[in-house]
Point group: C2
Chain length 681, copies 2
Amino acid sequence: MAGNRPPDRGREPEEPRVDPLLEVREKRRGQRPGDSYVRIVRPFEDEFEREEGRLVATERTVLERSGWTRTLRGIRTFLIGRPISSDHEQHERLTKVKALAIFSSDNISSSAYGPEEILRVLALAGAGALTLTLPIAGLIIGMLAIVTMSYRQTIKAYPLGASSYIVASDNLGDRAGVLAASALLIGYVVTVAVSVSAGVAAMTSILPGLYDYRVYVSVAMVVLLTLGNLRGIRESGSIFMAPTYLYIVTMLGIIGYALVRNVLGDLPPYTPPQEWALSEGTQVLGLFLLLRAFSQGAVALTGVEAISDGVPAFKAPEWRNARTTLTWATAIFGILFLGIAYLITTLGFVPDPTEQQTVLSLLVRHVTGNGAILILAQVATALLLVLAANTSFADFPRLSSFLARDGFMPRQFAFRGERLAFTTGIVALAGLAILLLVSFRASVTGLIPLYTLGVFIAFTLSQAGMLQRWWRRHEAGWRQGMVINGLGAATTAVVALVVGTSNFFQGSWMVMVLVPALMALLMGIRAHYRRMEHQLHPTPDADDDKEPDPIVIVPLARLDRPARRALAFARTISPHATAVHITNDPHTAEQLREAWGSLAGPMELVVVESPYRALVGPLLRYMDALQSLHPSRPIVVVLAEVVPRHWWENLLHNQTSLRLKLRLFGRKNTIVADVPFHLDD
Amino acid sequence: MAGNRPPDRGREPEEPRVDPLLEVREKRRGQRPGDSYVRIVRPFEDEFEREEGRLVATERTVLERSGWTRTLRGIRTFLIGRPISSDHEQHERLTKVKALAIFSSDNISSSAYGPEEILRVLALAGAGALTLTLPIAGLIIGMLAIVTMSYRQTIKAYPLGASSYIVASDNLGDRAGVLAASALLIGYVVTVAVSVSAGVAAMTSILPGLYDYRVYVSVAMVVLLTLGNLRGIRESGSIFMAPTYLYIVTMLGIIGYALVRNVLGDLPPYTPPQEWALSEGTQVLGLFLLLRAFSQGAVALTGVEAISDGVPAFKAPEWRNARTTLTWATAIFGILFLGIAYLITTLGFVPDPTEQQTVLSLLVRHVTGNGAILILAQVATALLLVLAANTSFADFPRLSSFLARDGFMPRQFAFRGERLAFTTGIVALAGLAILLLVSFRASVTGLIPLYTLGVFIAFTLSQAGMLQRWWRRHEAGWRQGMVINGLGAATTAVVALVVGTSNFFQGSWMVMVLVPALMALLMGIRAHYRRMEHQLHPTPDADDDKEPDPIVIVPLARLDRPARRALAFARTISPHATAVHITNDPHTAEQLREAWGSLAGPMELVVVESPYRALVGPLLRYMDALQSLHPSRPIVVVLAEVVPRHWWENLLHNQTSLRLKLRLFGRKNTIVADVPFHLDD
């Protein structure tokens, strides 16, 4: 088909090209002169299907056929399954019963640790302060009611998804939107860490031996969640319904039973172990401590966003079903939260200072004993908390994909992976959550101060956005709407302020540093992409379609087979290609020069001696010199590369060529062509 | 110069090429038609000097001109200085006085810790066993005398450098040579760790506050040595003479003074602190413990190799001067070692169990008090020990370069860096030594068991090689030579055996694992290089010089400016280049197809839909299909790449293209051409 032609040849037209993948055809082929036969060519019909004018790749194109990539693929398939076609994207709609289980797990699960966190702060002021747990819990539930009413309006206004990012962007502009998004992204990471830590704490309460390994167990949980989500476990899986309702039923039962026994005077007060006994208290019970206790408990409100995010997943009428579900979730949560707070206050519980047992587990044990019900309650709690973490695994990647679509995050975040999940977002979330879990040794109390602030910033922005929307649109009921959303915005703003200041040294300073930093990063990324888009857009006066003759050079160390192939390829690009030999050894240069005429054909050889033994520098300067004569012509650097059979053998090759490529990549008007020479081994 | 030509054009001959760097010339240049002028072109005369038929790069070609590479260059110049030309390679010859100072520092410095290490083992058997220190030291010096005699012959036989690797390879074959080399390489790494640890121990003996930071201080020392050696401090620097002679004079003086006072009955016995008091001893004083004590002391012999390695650096007659120096070094070391061993035995010293103070420092303090002489002695000791570590910084990279030259190690080890030092070897040695120092918390006692075995394996092989040489050559005096080298080989073999077995669990097992592993690695590397050389060698029937018309494809995501440049370049290579659009979005594919005719010119566009959202797999399969029609033609993949201004912005670009290139690198007969598009930002 192609022989050794003179370098200055004209191009012959090839045989008429018919794409081998598009056409079944007859082909006449001569292996030797005169030897011709007819053959039906239809290769790769398993790999590609033909549709009018285009090819559709089948799953086989994704599967690997040999070598280490195949091994990797095998591991991947074992862990997350086979690739899924875009055609199979699911659009299942949720009933209210399912949606309550799936979206409100974050919300309801905070009843497992919320009251305890209030108690822990109050304990700092001594045993007497503990009775304030119930009033604080009541205040929190009151605020939750306000926020719920406010979000009911948001849901109606944004039936396509009422993420704070969308509501704030839409009404208050990009900056507000990105601020809300930054706060939420951080909030999601902390949600995973908090929920997993609390889930593990529920387990260690009945399996004390696990306590020393809590960080490992937590990390393992995150890894499992990650694999599950990469595999694409849909939020709609019915399997996720069980933990929520199991928890609700079990806890309502236990609380009811305890209340009845309490009314009957059958339930004795709790006697903490001697070594937990609270002394006078290390801090004065002032306003500040009360605010901190309130802040710790305010985690209860953080779950509201999940239902608003998920409005489009409800059955029609979406917004009506979603807000009914929200109301129900708030009601159930309120009963659980207040019930637990009432019982631990009345019965005189104190927190375990070593964090080995949760107060909830102490309560259940006190009411029901060490039996099956305790185990059931703890298992339900642990499962629910893991499910709550899973909510973030749905929300974080989705929000990231919105941000990537709008140019605020790298584009990878918007790509669906082989299983249709947002792979990059899932992996990023998991990595960050593991970092948090390890840094905070999986301590719920340590993590909570990082949790609440971000979420409340987002809440405030979302509701302020609604306020602006009512004001601008003057739709029916706008006065009433403004009152409700205004009250919601004011409430959450106050909570944000309280959380931010009272927990400042406990950790909210980190959020105050991270949220603006992340925001700046997101804005910076979009600015970069915009500048880039501007430059990449074809303009009428751009000369991108011109084809100036390239200057072709071939750096070579010696005349081995890879070098000869590189030279041959260089000649196909340009009849004036030049070989460049940079060396610190005049002797080998002389040998090369002598061998040149007979071996390399009619090509020019430039010898550059490099007494400083550097290769890259002199080559770049030589290219500068060539370029100075022909400023408009691109320089093509043809590199011969030895490709070993095994990747680790690359340590023995190509070190110089890698450094060279890195530098050439940064040089303008420079095209690098890699001509590989594969070793058989 | 180049316009938009039809794709099927023939190549025009360019203007006659005269290399702009080789010739001062007059050039006629037309900017617009009819507008011509004469100009002297001699650019880059500062970068390149012209010599007959070739260019010589000046230092300016190595210096960076802008951006982060310039910053890196600045840091580099600050740390290790400006590049040095190969012309300046030093060939200074050493007098015996200088050579003694430089080459025997390793040897003589072991008198600072050798006696103590014997004492420490004996102390395990209780206070009574300590008196055996002197006889063991005597035995060691006796063996040193034998080895010295043996090496005097080796030096005469190998005046070009008597490294065990060379002697063993030359006489016993490659395997023996590589075994010796592996043992030596490991020995050099341990030498650095031991010497630096001992030097830091000498410092902490007078500055106890430093003890807690000994690992950091040790690592800092290694880093300093590394920088010094990268900078190219030559072994010959006179500055290195001072510590050796300072140590010899100070220690000889102190020992002499102590001996005189001892004879006069003026020196009281040593009273150790209460808490150091030795109980009955935890182990029985059996043969095994005696052998271990001997092994620990045998470090004394490890320095012999350095002088043998360095024979060519002596003034003529090299071998005679070298062996005289070796004899002197042995004699001085013998006196110091025996003197110190005698004194600590007679005066009843016991080792500090916490390793905070060296026995030598206790001795000096006991003899001379807490004054200036103590400080002088400790400073001299510390400096000498660091100098001893520096010996390895000369030997390890040199041995590595020999091994790399012979194909046993990656070629980088044979390249001289910008300062003429073997950069790769120096950095590798430093990294490994730091790893050891950190793992062993800079404990001399912990490191010694790793030290001796490797060196003695190399000794044995070297002397066995000499035995073989005498036998084969029957040169004058061969009988006597065989007796001496045989005695040497037998002695060192016995020591290797004793060290290996008695210290097995203390650490020599590691050497027994690492030496064969390293040996296997080195042999494997050479086998790889040989197979490769075989394949790279041009053969008459290889068709590397043929230039089959390449198949050119341009994968593209959209028709932006980078893509258009890539298409333009593809057209310069082949008139039949094809664009391939792989997408998971049929809608954008349709848009691209509609825009194609008007924007991209007469080029074919193939659309591949990828419902599994994969890019790499379908493209590779498509290339397979093309290849199946034209098995002999290479496929050129032209990739458009956006190059941002700042390297970190690459995180926002080219992720897919990077993965694609990685996979294409592994595909046979595939040439990848990168067409960059530089963003201005």
